[in-house]
Symmetry: C2
Subunit: 366 residues, 2 copies
């Protein structure tokens, strides 16, 4: 079992990754559980069907009554309606400022449960028990949110968890699409932090079929990148923006293809390709690297179809709603070199050119 | 024009109270307005009908395009539906992380607009322009919230404003009920901080018909009490709870009589009477003081009818949902002496006894 510590202002918490980690509820997290007058699991309904008994068994050992609220699977839980439903659930079960939430599901469930925790009676404690690879990104750092019809993660809060406990054995039941989604974010952490590691991943034969032990180590590495950035810039005033590498265009892809149509990481994969193309102009990224990345992506069954199926204007509309946009200008995280990100204003014309370029280069791949 | 400064961690802002204060948009707040890519007023629809042109005129001098979103008057705006509507409004107007909200209305409008600001793209800046006396309480301190069918202010955030600008001349159009509501909170600030000031207010002939100059001074005094407490305990870990004097029972009254039926301050007035009776037992408050308070309240047209119209059980149900409740126990802010508050656990039996006592003592007053 691996562990790292996230240091944010006035709050420190641990992230545990490995197998058999839920025993921690009886040891390291016993005091936290004991200090809560009520405990609820907010669980993704699909995850709950398969894995809830395992979590409940671990918690049963703590001899506490645990309420369970299941929510729609995946992004479908991140609506205002489900958010309000969760608040009512807690109120009707008599939850107070001293209660505790355990988020059990992928990144979406964690984002929702985190936002519920952030705003229930102006903030209660919560533990993240992520069940997807992708969630190694979202479960750490305290960003919580729900989606709006206008776009993803547009309403939310910063609210740090009291702990993050991954049981990596749960990843074995993930569908291939979900593995791809999570591995894309892992790759993102490599891209913005470390050239050697990036190349290692791009050359890894196990990338889309990772085994639990290798993956636990890699995820700890990815999480450490995120933890370091969050510690330096909790509220995204500066360097935390780097974590959005691939996300400006990625979110637009995700929105256009309908939340849940293409997975988050699959969308970010397209977004990273787009950012690499922009980085060829504004950074020192070689065309050959971008092309290698495109081949790697296709080889691992990522798709570039959306850029061929929709016009630039459709994506542009969403990009203008990006949270980094300001005074009508678009800002992208680009790479000077592998491992060296920076934020750059990009004109609409340049955006369109990069879009056409991405289309051209992936034409024969789809 | 009077001014005081609120010092919270990593954020300092000013509160201005007086007449002709909106000129500050052209002076002290010009830089803030210039730094925002978009500006919206979220306004109480009743307040907007009468006073919006005045605010717009002041802002027009800054040469900015200002969006206006009106919301239902009073507590009716503090619903999840209106909250989501405001978020959509901002998104459709192209608002970003660098945008600014101006809350224009009473405490309810400020709570709603503040919660919208707290969670729009995980937090944007906002200015409070309160239009009621009551809002001298809620506009300062950063507590934002909406109501749930289960009770008041149950979902929200801590999010400090960038400034609070009162134009006290607006108070002249307030209905008597609203004046009573605001003055009750002023009295609360006296009760928890200063015996002499409390007695001054209880003996003041102008209490329910205050003139603008006297009121500006008194409100600055009340706001200072709040600002000092908030500076010491922003997130209500300890002394900030004192600000809830009269509110545990007060919120129950408000909930039972339906949000908007009895005003917030009118409900708190009953809650303070209740807390004084509890303080006769657990503190050193004399029965004669409580009785003087009851007479003062009735003389100033506050009502005690609700305690005669509903059973104890009805109020108890709401008190158990109070945010100070924990592990099934109820906590009240009581007074050791005038000006010396403390938090005390109170048993259900004691609560019921105090309820019967309040009923008995106000029997002939209603």
């Amino acid at each position: 079992m691996g562990k790292l510590t996230v240091n944010v202002k006035e709050h420190t918490y641990d992230v545990h990754i490995g197998t058999n980690t839920y025993v921690l509820f009886e040891t390291e997290y016993k005091e936290l559980l004991d200090s809560a007058d009520r405990i609820a699991i907010i669980a993704d309904e699909h995850v709950a069907t398969v894995h809830l008994p395992m979590l409940q068994k671990a918690l049963r050992a703590t001899d506490r009554k645990i309420e369970v609220k299941t929510v729609p699977a995946g992004e479908r839980c991140k609506t205002a309606a489900v958010y309000v439903e969760c608040q009512s659930f807690l109120l009707n079960k008599g939850f107070t400022r001293n209660s505790l939430i355990i988020a059990f599901g992928g990144g979406a469930c964690g984002d929702l449960a985190g936002f519920v925790a952030a705003t229930f009676m102006r903030g209660i404690r919560y533990i993240q028990c992520p069940t997807t690879i992708l969630a190694h990104d979202s479960a750490v750092g305290g960003k919580t949110a729900i989606n709006m019809p206008e776009g993803k993660n547009l309403v939310g809060s910063f609210h740090q968890p009291s702990g993050v406990i991954f049981d990596a054995s749960l990843f074995q039941t993930l569908p291939a699409k979900e593995v791809r989604s999570g591995m894309a974010e892992l790759l993102k952490h490599a891209f913005i932090s470390d050239a050697t590691w990036t190349m290692e991943l791009l050359e890894s034969p196990a990338f889309s079929k990772p085994n639990v032990d290798w993956l636990s180590i890699e995820l700890l590495r990815g999480t450490q990148v995120k933890a370091d950035i969050v510690a330096a810039d909790e509220f995204e005033q500066s360097t935390r923006k780097f974590l959005n590498f691939g996300h400006t265009f990625g979110h637009a892809i995700e929105a256009v293809c309908g939340f849940g149509g293409l997975s988050h990481g699959e969308s970010v994969m397209i977004g990273m390709a787009y950012s690499l193309i922009l980085s060829e102009i504004d950074g020192e990224i070689e065309k050959s690297l971008t092309d290698a990345f495109l081949h790697f992506a296709v080889k691992n069954e990522y798709t570039f179809k959306p850029v061929h199926e929709h016009s630039f204007a459709v994506f542009m509309e969403y990009m203008q709603k990006d949270k980094k946009a300001s005074f009508g200008k678009l800002y992208f995280v680009l790479l000077q070199r592998l491992g060296s990100p920076f934020v750059q204003e990009v004109s609409k014309e340049q955006c369109e050119k990069a879009f056409e370029e991405l289309k051209k280069r992936t034409e024969e791949m789809i």
